[in-house]
Structures are given as C-alpha cells and as structure tokens.
C-alpha cells in the first residue's frame, strides 16, 4: 500500500477554471493597480492598499459562495473517498490564493524590480492580500463542511 494521496485533488483544484475565478482576477487586478498607483497615506496607512484589502475580502468570499451546489457535490464526493475538512480547506485556500496572486503578480513583479530586487513592505502587503484572498475563499467551504447539515446532503 502507498500512503494515501490527497495531492491530486488539492493541487488540481488550485488552478482557476471557473468564470467567477476570472472575475476575481479582474476585480483584484484593478484594485491592485489602484494600490500600486495610489500613494496617498492617512496615518501611515496607504489608502490604495486599504482599498485593495477591502476589495479582496468580499470578492473572494462571494466567488467561493457562487456555485455552492456544485461545490457541495464535490465536497461530498471528497469525503466519500476518505477525504477530510482540511483538504477541502487547502484546496479552496490554494484556489483563492492563486487567483489573487495572478491578479497581483504584475504589480508584485514591478515592485520587486523597482526596489532593486529586494522585498519591501509594499511587496509584503501584496503577498498578504493574496493570502487573505485564499483565506476568505476557503472560509465558506470550511463552514459548509463543518455544518450540521453537511452530512444530511448524503441522504436523498
């Protein structure tokens, strides 16, 4: 026997493939552009990044909530195959993180190049936005599989 492998499911699910993922990339990309170009600060906080964070959170949450019936079917199957809640979380986290990173990668690259290939605070904020994207993308799924109603879905 080999060690049970969940990697195909988790990693395979990381790549954006739905229309809503394209929307996520477009919206976060626009917010990233604004964050990159805007240098206004209030109390030491760059307003552009504040807007970026405030855009990433609802965008990723709503994208994750879209097509919930299909996602539920997928999660039910994963559990039936011997999967677990953290695998579902990991899959959706990776998807949200990947979408956000794709959207922000041009600005992240520019930031790294303009700072002489060093990782500055603005680069870290962009990475943080991508991590938040993954976290909020995975939230609804984790809530769904941990809910009391989840197991009810196995019943016809």
């Amino acid at each position: 026997m080999e060690k049970p492998s969940w990697a195909p499911f988790v990693v395979g699910g990381a790549f954006p493939r739905e229309f809503t993922d394209l929307l996520v990339i477009a919206i976060i990309g626009l917010a990233g552009l604004q964050a990159y170009l805007t240098r206004f600060t209030v109390g030491g906080v760059e307003l552009g990044f504040l807007t970026l964070f405030l855009t990433v959170l609802p965008t990723c949450t709503l994208a994750s909530l879209s097509n919930a019936t299909r996602k539920l079917r997928e999660e039910l199957a994963l559990f039936a195959y011997g999967g677990s809640a953290w695998q579902v979380w990991a899959k959706h986290f990776l998807r949200g993180f990947t979408c956000s990173l794709i959207a922000l990668s041009p600005f992240l690259s520019l930031e790294i190049i303009t700072t002489g290939y060093s990782v500055g605070s603005r680069s870290l904020l962009l990475v943080l936005a991508a991590v938040l994207g993954g976290t909020f993308y995975s939230g609804p799924s984790l809530r769904r599989v941990r809910s009391a109603e989840f197991a009810e879905s196995y019943k016809a």
Binding site: E2, S5, R73, E74, Y81, G82, F150, Y154
Partner: protein, 230 residues
C-alpha cells in the same frame, strides 16, 4: 472480544419545529464481526441513513458509542475510522466529483485510499467492466442517469477492495436488471472475499440476503412539554 464494528446504545435526537424527534428509542446496539453481512431494515424517515452517517463518523450520536476494531471512534472522523478499518461507502445520494470523468473519479478515490499507481488501472478496468461502465468511462457524472451514477459509486467503493463496505440503499436508483446484479454481487463479495458488509435498506427482499438483520423502529417524538416533565 473485539468486533470490527460495535455500536452501543446509539441514540439520536433532532430538533423539530414542534419538539424533538428521537431516533432509535431503545438505542442501536450492533456487533459486526469480520466477514459478517448485516442488514438494517426500516421505513422511510426511521433513521437508516442517519445510522450510516453515525457509523461512518459523518454525524455524531446524541448518546451511545461507536467502536472500530475495539477503538472508541464516537467522536472521530471518517478518515480516522478508515485508518482502523479500510472502509468503502456508498451513500443514498450518488457522490462523484462533477469536474472529473468517471475514470478520473475512480482513479482519485484509489489514490486517496493509498492504492499503488501501478495497480490502479487494473482495478479501475475490473470495476468498470463488472458494472458495465465501459462506455461512460470518459463521461462526466452530471451527464449520466441516477442509476449510472449509483453504479459508479459501487464501482468506486469496490475498487479499493475494502475490509468493510457500508451501503445506504444499494439498489436505490437502479433499474431492475442492475438491481438484480447488485445483491448477488454483495453476496459473492461477502462469501468469496470475506468483505464485511453493512447495508441499510427499506426492502425486505434485499435484507433477506444478510446473515444478521436489525429492525429499526419508527422514531419517537418528544414534545416540548414532555421534555420539561423529564
């Protein structure tokens, strides 16, 4: 003595708009030895599927315990239970990942069960041939009928060659010919391969195949006033 599965006085309560529904009034106490074929028979809404979920760790009982190979797994997940007893599950509602083809679904299930890569293709071929799914190996589950999806579930559960097979209404959604195929198959699996089978069904005809039969009783209903009296 250590049983493969043992449930002791398992009870379940569900909140309801007018009170609480209580399943298994006297508690379900079930002992399954390796190689047993157990059927749980009961009517619609009597808690058959809930019992499957409790045994698989997808729902937690209100009271009572569940042991797998002597270990208390009442609060443990399905994954933990599978690590103790290699378990294949077929649910009442067909379950397959919509964006993967039938073949890919089977391959993923085998990979998650730890079947070596070199063995997977052969096992998939065997299962697919057995259930007559050759023509739909490359189809996506959502394009198939409920009966075909049920057969995919059965093929997937059997492909991992489980120690324990838990089935919720195995002949549900199947036409007569497919249904007639399933019961002898389960008998053969149990008799020839020693696979332990736990099946819930509403059909006495299917239940009669088993060595051990458990009859569920209709659920009780606890009204709020009765609960206060207690």
């Amino acid at each position: 003595m250590t049983y493969l599965i043992e449930t002791t006085s398992v009870k379940m309560e569900y909140p309801h708009s007018d009170g609480v529904i209580q399943l298994y009034d006297e508690g379900v106490s079930l002992r399954v030895d390796p190689g047993d074929f157990v059927a749980v028979l009961g009517g619609s809404g009597w808690g058959k599927s809930t019992l499957v979920n409790i045994i698989l760790g997808l729902e937690k009982p209100t009271s009572g315990t569940v042991h797998f190979s002597g270990e208390d797994v009442t609060r443990s997940s399905f994954v933990k239970r599978c690590s103790l007893v290699k378990t294949g599950a077929v649910f009442q509602r067909p379950t397959a990942i919509p964006q993967l083809t039938v073949g890919q679904n089977l391959n993923l299930a085998l990979s998650m069960a730890g079947i070596p890569k070199g063995e997977r293709d052969e096992r998939i071929r065997e299962s697919i041939a057995f259930f007559g799914l050759e023509r739909i190996t490359r189809a996506y589950p959502e394009s198939l009928s409920a009966g075909q999806r049920k057969r995919i579930d059965l093929a997937r559960a059997l492909a991992i060659k489980p120690q324990l097979l838990v089935l919720d209404e195995p002949t549900g959604d199947l036409d007569t010919s497919a249904s007639n195929l399933v019961m002898p198959l389960l008998r053969g699996l149990n008799k020839d391969h020693g696979t332990t089978i736990l099946m819930v069904t509403a059909l006495p005809r299917c239940a009669s195949t088993a060595h051990q039969l458990l009859h569920l009783k209709p659920p009780g209903f606890i009204t709020p006033s009765k609960r206060i009296d207690r």
